[in-house]
């Protein structure tokens, strides 16, 4: 998805600036209105206590937008970092759209990229109004007033004020149409590390997540979902469930059977006591093994062409042809906070509290289920205990389930929907299982003359409300990263075979790149070896001279890792890189052979994400992305057994990376003046292939089926 920052988008947002008192929407002279302290229609609020609160239009699930977007405002406002606060913006498409999507939502590592100019303009407009107010109050020219570290001052007259004392006057000033912003050399906060705004609350138990919300008279609800994807409730017996102390009612809803109780434990006990018969008529009953065979057959047949350059029939003249098939399992996102939502319905209006990642879809879905106008649904977007894509639902299935629970209760009230870890692991919306098929031909000089790659998997977007965004084309997220490669391969053909299944799929931290980077960068490593080339030098030779950012991260990571080749002192070294979400990341992995088991000891990472707004957050996202990817490559797979039921259920059989497995990580950020791009996902793709390349170099073992642990067992 491209990033398009429109002027219209900026005006829609910045025109709603709030200084102490609310300013009206629309341009022109601001007017005093009755203060509604939490009425969310703008990005900035300044209290008389000098506290600047930035309403963050992107959900905070660990990737740092609270701090990052507040930094942009503070920079142009010339605020002091200590006076900055961040708060989640509520559901409101008009005010809080993601300018990359044209709708309110977080994903595709777009938060910083789409907000960069918008939030700076918002801060600059606010600063201009404070300055104009000070000029009027002090009777001095605005041009002589300076602002620094939260203080507005006029040197000649000695006047000095904080922001808070100027808010009432500033609210009467016109909102500037297009305030000037700083040039990069004027940045005070951008590019520097500073404490994250959400850290303290996450060290003392005060940070508020969805599960922490308790409303008066609230019932906790758990849902028995069908064990097979696509199955439905045939019948159920709730006698034993209702006999559990604390269970108040049991209702059938679209997704299963809901048990309502006065506390969580009673709800869980009630669900255990429930007897449900399922109708498997439309269910997926194939096992993963059967599905893989079908996917592999389709991949071998070549799919539809999604990218073609030259004529790959030159393959027949190659000195050597290499072939490979890769298999990637379904993956659950497994955010540490399992899915949850609180909904309260009173007098025909609904209020929700949850980690809504796509409010644009969640809000109308709830309205439709409840049969009320969309304006009567409000969503408070809370901190989320991780997501990695899981809460970004085109289907709005979680919001829908919460609304169905409220509706099925048949009365007003508050309800907290809770998914357990088992619900999460077995609940679908997985990274699509995928088969890649490759053929590459090299000539006598070791040059790659033809490259064929067919991807077989389900579409994430087709069949959901997001399909319209494809405008009739194929789902790029299924094969992104196999297409668009800058490598000079001679002829190439990329194919896609769309598979279908009732198993629900969703984007999973770095989406298509989760499998394409692994498949492309490990297969290429084998081809380079067959051609007698060094992994680093071979990649650089394949890149055009003007691929500066690609070359930049590869050369940088080779430099900081002291690259000398794939094996050194009994350790294996592998490199891989990927461009994802317009950010370039290359990684070198060091692996040791511990009694036949790969142990990753160190990772070097070079990242080019344009201007580094907060280097500390960028490093943190690279470290986290590396750990997330390593756990996946080593351990993670969701499989359907005979008959189609998921074989995993919790962290005991769907293991997560542990601290003892985490390598040391060194991150180098490429200096850049390009507009910033995202970092939430791009740290993930290169790790798996870099590790597999290192392990192959060291052990000779080829890992075309993931996870590595699974292939070994």
């Amino acid at each position: 998805m491209g990033v398009i920052t429109t002027r219209r988008g900026f005006l829609a947002g910045s025109a709603g600036l709030t200084l102490g008192l609310m300013l009206p929407l629309g341009r022109g002279r601001a007017q005093m209105t009755v203060a509604r302290p939490f009425a969310p229609n703008a990005f900035i609020r300044i209290g008389t206590d000098d506290i600047v609160t930035v309403l963050i239009k992107h959900i905070e699930m660990g990737q740092g937008p609270y701090t990052g977007l507040a930094t942009l405002v503070a920079e142009e406002l010339d605020a002091d970092w200590s006076q900055m606060r961040a708060e989640g913006a509520p559901a409101n498409d008009q005010l809080y759209a993601n300018l990359a999507f044209g709708l309110q939502g977080t994903g595709g590592s777009t938060a910083m990229a789409n907000s960069f100019m918008q939030m700076r303009k918002a801060g600059a407009a606010c600063r201009a109004m404070l300055v104009a107010a000070a000029a009027r109050e002090w009777g001095v020219p605005a041009a002589e007033i300076s602002v620094a570290a939260g203080a507005v001052s006029h040197a000649a007259s000695g006047h000095k004020s904080g922001f808070g004392a100027l808010t009432a006057a500033a609210a009467k000033e016109p909102v500037p149409d297009d305030p000037p912003v700083k040039t990069a050399d004027q940045f005070v906060l951008i590019g520097k590390d500073r404490p994250k705004l959400d850290t303290v609350g996450k060290t003392n138990g005060t940070a508020q997540f969805t599960l922490d919300v308790y409303r008066d008279g609230m019932l906790t609800v758990v849902v028995a979902h069908p064990p097979k994807f696509g199955a439905k409730v045939a019948s159920f017996d709730d006698k034993a469930a209702l006999a559990v102390k604390g269970v108040e009612m049991v209702r059938q809803i679209g997704s299963g059977v809901a048990v309502y109780a006065t506390n969580t434990f009673a709800a869980l006990k009630g669900r255990d006591a429930l007897v449900v018969k399922w109708d498997d008529t439309a269910a997926e009953t194939r096992s993963s093994a059967q599905m893989f065979d079908a996917f592999a057959k389709a991949a071998a047949e070549g799919g539809v062409t999604v990218e073609e350059k030259g004529d790959v029939s030159v393959m027949s003249g190659a000195a050597k042809v290499l072939e490979a098939e890769y298999r990637f399992p379904y993956l659950a996102h497994a955010p540490m906070e399992p899915l949850d939502a609180v909904i309260e319905v009173r007098g025909g209006k609904a209020e929700m509290w949850f980690g809504s990642q796509f409010p644009t879809f969640d809000r109308p879905t709830v309205a439709a289920v409840l049969g009320i106008p969309v304006e009567d649904v409000s969503i408070n977007v809370l901190l989320a205990g991780g997501s990695f894509g899981r809460r970004a639902q085109g289907s709005a299935h979680l919001a829908s389930e919460a609304a169905e629970i409220a509706k099925a209760a048949g009365r007003d009230g508050a309800f907290k929907l809770v998914w357990t870890r088992e619900d999460d692991v077995k609940g679908g919306y997985y990274r699509p299982m995928t088969v890649h098929r490759f053929r590459a031909g090299i000539d006598a000089e070791g040059k790659i003359i033809a490259w064929e790659n067919t991807v077989a998997n389900q579409s994430i977007m087709m069949g959901t409300p997001l399909e319209a965004m494809l405008q009739g084309g194929p789902d790029n997220s299924s094969f992104e990263g196999s297409t668009g490669l800058p490598y000079q391969f001679g002829a190439r053909r990329i194919g896609w075979a769309r598979m279908e299944s009732p198993v629900s799929v969703l984007w999973w931290r770095s989406v298509g790149h989760t499998h394409t980077a692994y498949a492309v960068e490990t297969f290429l490593d084998e081809v380079l070896e067959a051609a007698g080339k060094d992994p680093v030098q071979g990649r650089l030779e394949l890149l055009p001279a003007d691929a500066l950012r690609e070359r930049g991260v590869i050369e940088k990571v080779a430099e900081i890792s002291g690259w000398t080749g794939p094996v050194r002192d009994g350790k294996g070294y592998g490199i891989a890189w990927a461009k994802s979400f317009n950010t370039y990341v290359a990684q070198v992995v060091e692996v040791e052979n511990q009694a036949g088991i790969p142990k990753v000891t160190r990772v070097w990472c070079a990242v080019d994400c344009g201007i580094a707004v907060n280097p500390n957050i960028i490093r943190a996202q690279m470290e986290g992305g590396i750990g997330y990817a390593l756990g996946t490559v080593l351990h993670s797979r969701i499989t359907l057994g005979e008959g189609g039921e998921v074989e995993q259920s919790n962290f005991d059989d769907y293991p997560m990376l542990r601290i003892s497995e985490m390598p040391a990580v060194e991150v180098a950020i490429i200096a850049s003046e390009a507009d910033p791009t995202g970092v939430g996902e791009p740290g993930v793709p290169p790790l798996g292939p870099a590790m597999a390349n290192a392990w192959r170099a060291l052990s000779g073992q080829i890992q075309h089926y993931l996870p590595i642990g699974g292939a070994m067992s």
Binding site: G205, L211, T264, G385, E623
Partner: protein
């Protein structure tokens, strides 16, 4: 009726004796800093101090804590806890934050037992605490930093 002490306050609760301490802390006492992650003692998000030792509250039935003293993330204090919190904040360990209460409880317990832990000690003590954001590099660093602070 179960009688126990949480964060210095006595409680008498008439409650299903099988109820895990986790849900009593959250649903009954509204101490929501202690988190639910797995329910089977596999992730450590629910770690509390039970009579001075780290304990997974999700698998601890309330009947087992009769007469016990429990301390949660909201109230844990003392040199080790203070040093851990300060170190966590100084290098911004948390990302999503969900697991961090449990991480801090386990790290505090580690430093109470071993004032200057090695990397191996950290692996042993912290391997039961999952962080899906994989903030492990910083968790390790923060524990070493806290140990240095305690050394004075």
């Amino acid at each position: 009726m179960t009688t126990f002490r949480v964060n210095g306050r006595d409680h008498d609760l008439d409650i299903d004796p099988d109820t895990p301490l986790l849900w009593v802390l959250r649903d009954e006492l509204r101490l929501t800093g202690t988190k639910f992650g797995c329910g089977i003692a596999q992730c450590g998000a629910c770690t509390v101090m039970l009579d001075g030792m780290p304990r997974r509250s999700c698998v601890t039935p309330i009947s087992m804590v009769e007469g016990s003293e429990i301390v949660t993330i909201e109230a844990i204090e003392g040199p080790e806890a203070d040093a851990v919190r300060a170190a966590w904040t100084a290098i911004d360990v948390p990302q999503c934050g969900w697991c961090q209460s449990g991480q801090i409880m386990s790290a505090t317990a580690l430093l109470q037992a071993i004032p200057k832990p090695t990397d191996g000690d950290i692996n042993d003590a912290m391997a039961g605490n999952v962080c899906r954001c994989a903030t492990y590099v910083r968790i390790r660093q923060a524990i070493h930093d806290a140990a240095k602070t305690l050394e004075g």
